[in-house]
Symmetry: C2
């Protein structure tokens, strides 16, 4: 016999056991339902692409992290490290086949050779949704409304979407004469929550002067951090940026749609949101869970001027957002641990009912009954061997199966439906009666 | 401005446009629903693994096809080329955390550097389902019953699952003294449909003698190719194999469950099914569409003795099957082209209703109405700009959206619901009334 190989995965990679994969599947199903309600369609792109295509626009940091190699045909290829670059290539390649404004969602794996650390993996799932081919305020609003609905659909009802406009910020910096230092300002302001106001002011003052530092802090703090401060903050940043312009009009238009649709209580105008050095040019946003602010944004994005400029001449503007699926799953787990109910029930199975096997000679009847229950919509599995009942009960319990059935050899009610949690039996005459018993309890 | 990069994918790879990805998503949802009804749970494994783990058992052909490289840490890694080897590693690694019999499904991408040709790609989706940790006939039957239900769930109702038992065949070959030539026999018999009876007999005779060749042909032809010939064929092969044994008893037990569950009309006992040189040891099966036999098996599998023998000492027997998703999608497309209705409607969107934009000043109202429709379960999108109505109609038509809404500025019925196919208008007072109009028509 040959030597055994130690079964193991690569550093930074992981398997998903049923409990985790069921949670992810339920989450993705709910998000997908909302994407579809908003008219978004799925696409797919290859995991492997020409390195030239994936890396052309990247900084050195990305290049170090990407899984890149020569394939058997000598091509320089790489595993995708996000879903944005492949989408840009996709839009350019298929522009004649798509109908703009084009709305897509894409939930798929990406790979980055990051230093593995707690909660960071080299393979993870991204969930992106974008509308491309429209400059309209309507799509800015639609993405924001969709983000809100998506989070609500998975049982997260206590969150705030914080938004601002890069254009307003840029005008403000120009007025201060700091347009050439915008990267420094963004980088420093991004640390505000972490290092505090005083230290931020001191770091800003080092390259902008004390007066500008004071103004920058006043700008990013706005007029208050509640949804109802939106208009006051908008008036403040508009004034500090030099008066009304396209950017503040855009924020005003989006705000009007929020109010008209009755969703304004989920949104805060927060001028400190800048999305760092990203490629955004318009409205940008981040989403924080009110009960778990420390985990950071669970859904972020914004408007960009030109998605596919590397691959085509026509300008394709758009707005896009990305849900941090793994972060959200971790957050829901944390909320569940605190006693909040979430859709991630933690079950290790989808099975409603186990048909136990007391005598293998009756296997035909067990299987027929299981088939009848399934045709009535009851998820059902048959224990395949006549092992001890205690063993069969333990197996069902470990899998989180609530209902069990034993089959008596005769009598008017041969189907004994057992509530495995309450440990109570209920004799039933037919599969329909048993299915009703299961359904009635599940509905309560 | 920098030079444009030609947007393109690697040879043998492809994008999925919305129409294709929607079809795949609908298919996968229906299959998933059936997997869950049978108590199967999802798992996931990394796309990238140690090459040593993936390739230990492979033949030279696989090794040539695999995408293998050194990662940045100098590890010898490879992209998975199937879902079976990773599942074996998974079972060995997590054996303490799983509950046996363990039933999993896994729908995911695999990569093979095959020579690209019509219908063959270097990246494709596999859909595997297995029950491991049980020798019972019940799980042989359950997988077969699940295969049948899965195909029916996607609207394929005209198919035949052909099965046989490797054990019976092996006993038969031993009786002929050909046990050492089983690979040659399997290889030759596999070509029967292609090269015809005479040529097969001649090739068999070359290494087994004319009399044995005649017997082999009689064996693989059985007693008839209809579901109702099952028992006669079973009696025939049992006799030719030397009488009753565990293998024929197993076939008999599975047949009894088929009859008891009323599903026997989908199954043919076909002794010519051997699954070639695969690692199966028990019942094996292939599935053919009655109207498209030439595309080959769309769902195949069988029982194996020991899944994870390379990685652990305990024997883990099981049964598993795999749906050829891409082949099935192609087949459904072909059936649809022949006028058969299939769940792959060919729509380029999930959207029920477009809200048209006649005046951007009304965008608040359009968005509010869209929100109301979505909360009533109507998938809905708002056209974001006040472009010409002919352009907005054309866009909706291209996406396959059936319903459109224009909003009048006042009046008791300001919502004009348009059936874009019938080109008929229906004024409605409320979003509820419009949603009922859409729902009522969709139900017909």
């Amino acid at each position: 016999m040959s030597e055994l190989i130690q079964p193991r995965v690569l550093k930074g990679f992981r398997d998903a056991l049923p409990r985790e994969e069921i949670a992810r599947a339920l989450l993705v199903e709910r998000l997908t339902r909302v994407f579809r309600l908003y008219g978004f369609v799925p696409i797919d792109t290859p995991a492997l692409e020409y390195a030239e295509i994936l890396l052309r626009k990247s900084d050195g940091e990305t290049e170090k992290q990407v899984f890149r190699f020569q394939d058997n045909g000598g091509r320089d290829v790489a595993l995708r490290f996000d879903l944005t670059v492949p989408f840009a290539r996709f839009v350019a390649e298929h522009r004649e086949e798509l109908y703009f404004p084009f709305k897509r969602y894409h939930i798929a794996k990406v790979w980055r050779g990051e230093k593995p650390q707690a909660g960071r993996y080299r393979e993870f799932v991204q969930c992106d949704f974008d509308v491309v081919g429209s400059d309209s305020a309507a799509v800015d609003f639609e993405i924001l409304s969709l983000m809100r609905e998506a989070l609500r659909s998975i049982g997260v009802d206590s969150f705030t979407i914080r938004l601002s406009h890069r254009g307003t910020f840029n005008r403000f910096l120009s007025r201060l004469g700091l347009q050439d230092k915008s990267e420094d300002v963004l980088r420093t302001v991004d640390k505000l929550a972490k290092i505090g106001e005083e230290e931020t002011a001191s770091q800003l003052a080092a390259f902008s002067g004390a007066e500008a530092a004071r103004e920058i802090l006043a700008y990013v703090k706005g007029a208050g951090s509640r949804p109802e401060d939106f208009d006051a903050t908008l008036a403040l940043v508009e004034r500090m940026a030099g008066g009304p312009a396209e950017d503040t009009e855009r924020l005003r238009a989006v705000r009007a749609m929020m109010v008209a649709s009755g969703v304004d209580a989920s949104f805060v105008l927060d001028p400190s949101i800048t999305r760092g050095l990203d490629y955004y040019t318009g409205i940008v946003y981040e989403t924080f869970l009110d009960e778990l602010p420390s985990i950071g944004s669970v859904c972020s994005g914004g408007r960009y001027d030109n998605l596919a400029g590397l691959y085509m001449k026509d300008r394709v503007p758009g707005v896009g957002s990305s849900i941090g699926l793994d972060r959200l799953i971790a957050a829901l787990g944390e909320l569940a641990a605190r006693g909040k109910s979430t859709p991630l029930s933690g079950a290790a199975s989808f099975t409603d009912c186990a048909v136990f096997c007391e005598d293998e000679a009756f296997m035909d009847r067990y299987q027929r009954l299981a088939g009848e229950l399934r045709s009535l919509g009851v998820s059902c599995e048959v224990f395949p061997d006549a092992k001890k009942m205690t063993q069969q009960y333990a197996w069902a319990e470990k899998k989180g199966i609530r209902w069990g059935i034993r089959l008596a050899s005769d009598g008017p009610k041969p189907i004994v439906l057992r509530d495995l949690t309450a440990r109570s039996d209920r004799p039933c005459a037919t599969a329909e009666e048993a299915a009703r018993g299961i359904g009635a309890q599940q509905a309560t």
